[in-house]
């Protein structure tokens, strides 16, 4: 436990400069964006005189020097404020807060699916390495690896919603159905299946290939031979001795993938009209609302940093040698 706490202190300490750099980059990207909040409001209302524009700029502090604006941006962030979206007419943090749970649900489901199917497929492939089962699964994995999520999402809609009529083609729940209890949960689950599968395919392929490679890596090690020699069954050796060690690279990679899954969610949420951060990002691009866009970018980076700290802790717990580094 002391080891895990030491790791926590070290990784949290290392994360601070990264967070600062991310905030600085985010702020300067926001300044690079064409137009500001006053322009956006003026475009929205249709007409604005020079005076009202100047008054708006003074109101939002846009007439201040860059350094002062940066300080007030930092001050806002310390109060958990990501600025105000003139187009949605509400604080960016509230807007993001409304959409975050949807994205987290989608990401968590997709990641669990990917880990479950990917690791199982990888174990099966390594047990039959070089034989037909391995070859067929390898080809399928490579195909999953090459398919864009938004396209497979559309194809799944054609098959399961349009042709077969089994699953809904979009949204997070049946609107106006007024469901409660089990029927409500079932309805949510039915809406979740297609987007989660579209998002997961790519990662299923990655984990399958990774687990296969690392299982083959540990296969020839002494402790595996020892386990076999003391008479354990092949299943016990594979699952209890080999897989446990082959999982370490998977935790590293899965932590790195949080950002990629978030990026994938942008397109998948657009395809399935899923009310999440990804679709909000896309709407913000269309409306050229950069305060929302950069708020999402900043929050995503913080999420990635937090997950990386968690992965470090998980690894320190899984493998005692890591804390010694």
């Amino acid at each position: 436990m002391a080891r895990v706490l030491r790791t926590l202190r070290r990784t949290a300490w290392q994360a601070i400069p990264t967070v600062i750099a991310v905030v600085v980059i985010d702020f300067f990207l926001l300044r690079l964006a064409p137009g500001d909040a006053a322009d956006a409001l003026a475009a929205e209302s249709g007409s604005a005189t020079e005076e009202t524009m100047a008054a708006l700029r003074a109101h939002f502090g846009l007439d201040q020097p860059a350094f002062v604006q940066f300080l007030s941006y930092i001050g806002n962030l310390l109060h958990f404020s990501l600025g105000f979206s003139p187009l949605y007419n509400m604080p960016v943090s509230r807007l993001i807060g409304e959409r975050l749970p949807g994205t987290l649900l989608l990401m968590a489901t997709a990641l669990s699916l990917a880990l479950l199917i990917g690791i199982s497929a990888g174990v099966v492939m390594s047990m039959f390495a070089g034989r037909l089962t391995d070859r067929v699964l390898s080809v399928i994995a490579l195909l999953f690896y090459s398919v864009p999520g938004f396209w497979i999402g559309l194809m799944l809609i054609v098959l399961f919603s349009v042709r077969l009529g089994w699953l809904p083609s979009g949204g997070a729940e049946t609107i106006g159905a007024g469901l409660t209890g089990w029927p409500w949960l079932l309805d949510r689950a039915r809406h979740l299946i297609l987007p989660a599968v579209s998002l997961a395919l790519f990662f299923i392929a990655i984990y399958a290939r990774l687990v296969r490679a690392s299982m083959l890596e540990v296969r020839d090690q002494d402790y595996v031979r020892t386990a076999t020699a003391k008479g354990l069954s092949r299943t016990a050796v594979t699952l209890r001795h080999m897989l446990w060690n082959a999982l370490l690279p998977v935790t590293t990679v899965a932590g790195m993938h949080v950002g990629a899954i978030l990026g994938g969610a942008v397109v998948v949420e657009t395809v399935f009209s899923w009310p999440g951060l990804g679709r909000l990002a896309f709407e913000a691009v269309l409306k050229r609302d950069f305060s929302v866009l950069l708020g999402i970018l900043l929050l995503s980076s913080l999420l990635v940093i937090a997950v990386n700290v968690l992965v470090d802790l998980l690894q320190a717990w899984l493998d005692p040698r890591i804390a010694l580094r």
Binding site: P17, T18, A21, V22, I25, L29, L32, A33, P34, A129, G130, L142, L143, Y145, S146, V147, P148, G149, F150, W151, L154, M155, I157, V158, V162, L216, M256, V258, G259, A260, L262, G263, G264, V266, V267, T270, V271, A281, F282, V285, L286, R288, F290, L293, L294, I296, L297, S300, S301, V304, I305, N308
Partner: protein, 276 residues
């Protein structure tokens, strides 16, 4: 040369390179095979594939030839895929080589920089960069390149760190060679194999990112690309799903060929993986 022989005897690599060659030839010959703008109306709308021999893959809602669109779309995918990978590999190699070879403070700083860039969700950063700079082939190429360099930098740094104390590098240093000559002419050729393998995966990723971008309507508006064809066909998904399926199939074949190519290269260049 031994690697080339191994590569050519590898069925995966061979299948990948033949498919890839087909896509590149289609991209190069597009203006010859289908002269004229593929965005112009060519025939009546909504001809299904295999109905009209003049338009074997049918036409879309505006009567545009789907086959011409797919062949012309290969140009954008191939161009942006390779150009943005080139940008990413050049930046990544320079940064990674400096960090790995010189070490010390510079290394700490550059590793930090890579970490910062890797906290941004890649596709989200691409969207932000492209929408700030207005979409065009040049800005999309730059955005995808900027997002992809840390992968190369990490790899190159690791290679350089393991190579910089080898005897041949010490010998070069003993002969009084400058840092630039040692980095580019002595160490880099020895670190080339893993960089080349990563490059093919990066081209595949870049093509996927470009297609997702133009699917969302953030591609170059003056050019036809597979992503924009899928985006346009999406509105007729219920009635004419072939408009989404066909450009997507072209996309999958191209990305698959690059991944097969990369696997084949990896088997040929990485002796540890041989026989598995």
């Amino acid at each position: 040369m031994k690697s080339l022989g191994l590569f050519l005897r590898n069925p995966t690599g061979l299948a990948g390179s033949s498919l890839l060659l087909l896509v590149i030839v289609a991209a190069l010959l597009a203006p010859v095979l289908f002269p004229g703008d593929p965005l112009d109306m060519a025939t009546t709308p909504f001809i299904w594939p295999l109905q009209d021999p003049a338009f074997p893959l049918g036409s879309d809602s505006l009567g545009r030839d789907v086959l011409a669109g797919i062949v012309h779309g290969a140009r954008v995918s191939v161009l942006i895929g390779f150009a943005s990978t080139f940008v990413g590999v050049v930046i990544g190699t320079l940064v990674g080589a400096c960090a790995g070879y010189f070490g010390g403070r510079l290394d700490d700083l550059l590793v930090r920089l890579m970490e910062v860039f890797q906290t941004f969700p890649p596709f989200l950063l691409i969207i932000v960069l492209v929408s700030i700079a207005e979409p065009s082939v040049a800005t999309i190429t730059a955005a995808i390149g900027i997002v992809s360099w840390p992968t190369v930098a990490r790899l190159v740094r690791a290679e350089f760190r393991s190579l910089r104390e080898r005897d041949f590098v010490l010998a070069a240093r003993g002969l009084g060679y400058g840092a630039a000559r040692i980095v580019f002419l002595e160490i880099l050729p020895n670190a080339a194999a893993p960089i080349i393998v990563t490059t093919s995966v990066m081209v595949a990723t870049a093509i996927l990112n470009e297609s997702a971008l133009s699917f969302l309507g953030l591609g170059d508006p003056n050019l036809v690309s597979w992503g924009s064809m899928i985006g346009a066909g999406r509105d007729q998904l219920r009635t004419a799903w072939y408009l989404v399926a066909l450009p997507g199939a072209a996309l999958v074949i191209t990305v698959l060929s690059l991944n097969l190519f990369g696997d084949g290269l990896n088997d040929a260049l990485n002796p540890r993986a041989r026989g598995r």
